[in-house]
């Protein structure tokens, strides 16, 4: 039984079972009954990576930004730009097929917006990989130096919830407080290195007295000497509380949490064999590499007005802020490893190691494009190409050539002409013929 429900333009668009693909290179042949192949990208533990979820959330966020552009005309340009970028984020994903049957992302296009759920997810993966790399290198250096690894703690420091208008100042305040605390003799004597990750959540509990307020807090991964627990370096929870209260200038007892990073069954991480230590850091890495603001905190399909208000505040507050930073020996290790910047770096290749890529080996690639109708990534093409690293080098070269041509074109005035042509095409897309005639002086038919 053929499930094609209509073909509006057989050369360009295909409709099958309600799944609309806007691609000319779709694998679905006109008139065939082929089912679209949805993206399944599995993690090593067999669970699917959440591409679909983040793309759908991105669509909602884009619509929320559109809505904001209308509510706040004075900031419309900013919000529309965000909306366009997020709507166009990761329209496709090309994967390299690995010998074990898995998929490894090879190419995509990310918008890099702070609140984009897709980019936040990629950033958190990248930070997680970087944390694991830094931790294992710092430990290896310590073991070769002293014969013992570092001990690891997870410290969470908080302040009371604040209303939206005070959020920006409060984030500045807790960052300053941490900087001051890290300069204290007590801290310096105990903590050898740290990673700070700032997170903001919102209270959505309508029964709570703090309903609608924001909760900025910081997760800190601390590295201490192995003798920390049995020496004067040890800092009790109450002392951590007093220190934070003092440096943050608080007149109330804040909520803090300090825990030793242990394995799932409660073992101390240093008691494990070397090869198992890195894996056991997973929980702590996941905690500190969490998103700056959770998508579920600003995207509430059931409360659009609150979503819009939260998105606007987060967009204005979190812009140009460094939500993660390294300190002490971890900073030195991160510097020595020449890690890519989390805020501006590559979001496609999130792993830190270069892996076992053979330069001359061919690789198989498969591409999935986002389909609006199916609300999922659908397979479009499969190809055999050069090894990933060779392809990346080629892409870099092509990019350089394009930039060189652009610079040359800018000098000759051809760029201005190309921009004007693009503007004409953009407007012709949905403007009516009369409007185009008015702008360009007639002679246009309004079709692209």
């Amino acid at each position: 039984m053929c499930d094609i429900i209509g073909v509006s333009n057989p050369t360009t668009y295909q409709l099958t079972k309600g799944a609309l693909s806007l691609l000319s290179n779709t694998t679905i042949k006109p008139g065939s009954c082929q089912e679209p192949e949805h993206l399944t990208d599995l993690k090593p533990n067999g669970k699917p990576r959440p591409w679909k979820k983040h793309k759908r959330d991105g669509q909602l966020l884009s619509a929320v930004y559109d809505d904001l552009a209308d509510e706040y005309p004075e900031q419309a340009a900013r919000f529309l730009e965000r909306s366009r970028r997020i709507a166009d984020c990761a329209p496709f994903a090309e994967f390299e097929l690995t010998p074990d049957g898995g998929k490894k992302l090879h190419h995509s296009s990310f918008c890099r917006c702070r609140l984009c759920p897709m980019c936040q997810w990629r950033r958190s993966l990248k930070l997680g990989a970087q944390v694991r790399a830094v931790v294992s290198h710092a430990n290896a250096a310590k073991i070769s130096r002293d014969g013992a690894a570092y001990g690891w703690l997870l410290l969470t420091v908080t302040v009371q919830n604040v209303p939206g208008e005070k959020l920006s100042a409060e984030i500045d305040h807790i960052h300053r407080a941490l900087n001051n605390m890290a300069k204290s003799a007590r801290w310096k004597g105990s903590v050898k290195g740290w990673l700070r990750a700032t997170e903001v959540t919102r209270n959505f509990n309508q029964k709570s007295a703090w309903y609608g307020t924001y909760h900025p807090h910081m997760h800190l991964l601390l590295c201490v000497n192995a003798r920390y627990y049995k020496s004067k370096e040890y800092i009790k929870k109450q002392e951590w509380l007093e220190m934070w209260k003092h440096y943050a200038g608080l007149d109330y007892d804040p909520i803090i949490d300090i825990e030793t990073i242990k394995t799932v069954d409660g073992q101390n991480i240093n008691d494990l064999p070397k090869e198992q230590r890195a894996a056991s850091m997973g929980k702590a890495c996941a905690e500190v590499s969490k998103y700056a603001a959770k998508p579920s905190d600003y995207l509430r399909p059931d409360d659009l007005d609150m979503s819009a208000e939260t998105v606007r505040l987060f967009d204005l507050t979190l812009e140009n802020r460094r939500m993660t930073s390294w300190g002490g020996v971890l900073k030195e290790t991160a510097k020595a490893l020449k890690l890519d910047d989390i805020e501006t770096g590559d979001l496609v290749h999130v792993e830190t190691e270069s892996e076992d890529e053979t330069a001359n080996k061919l690789a198989d690639y498969v591409t999935y494009w986002w389909s609006i109708g199916a609300a999922d990534y659908i397979k479009t093409t499969a190809r055999r190409g050069d090894a990933p690293e060779v392809e990346r080098q080629k892409k870099r070269q092509t990019k350089k050539q394009v930039h060189a041509r652009r610079r040359a074109a800018a000098g000759s005035g051809a760029l201005a002409k190309a921009k004007k042509d693009a503007e004409r095409e953009w407007i012709a897309w949905d403007a009516d013929p009369e409007e185009i005639a008015e702008i360009f002086g007639g002679g246009e038919d309004g079709e692209t």
Partner: protein
Amino acid sequence: MAKRKRQPWGNLPPDVGQFVSDQLARDWEELSRPCREVCRDCPADRDSEESPCMNCPFAGLSTLAATVTCASKMIRLKDKLDK
């Protein structure tokens, strides 16, 4: 200077874009409310890496219903402003 226009659903072909715009002109706020509220009180942690929502039929439904509502709100606001 000509005002740039953007298709509410990205780069749809003109005829489809027009059809979608016409549909969005309806007030979807109330019509889509049951769909938008279908996840209310669901115990799933949507933010978790292991979130079960990706495989839940209602997650897509509520997100798309909210997207349609936002887009329709925008179109109706624009119409209101034009008048």
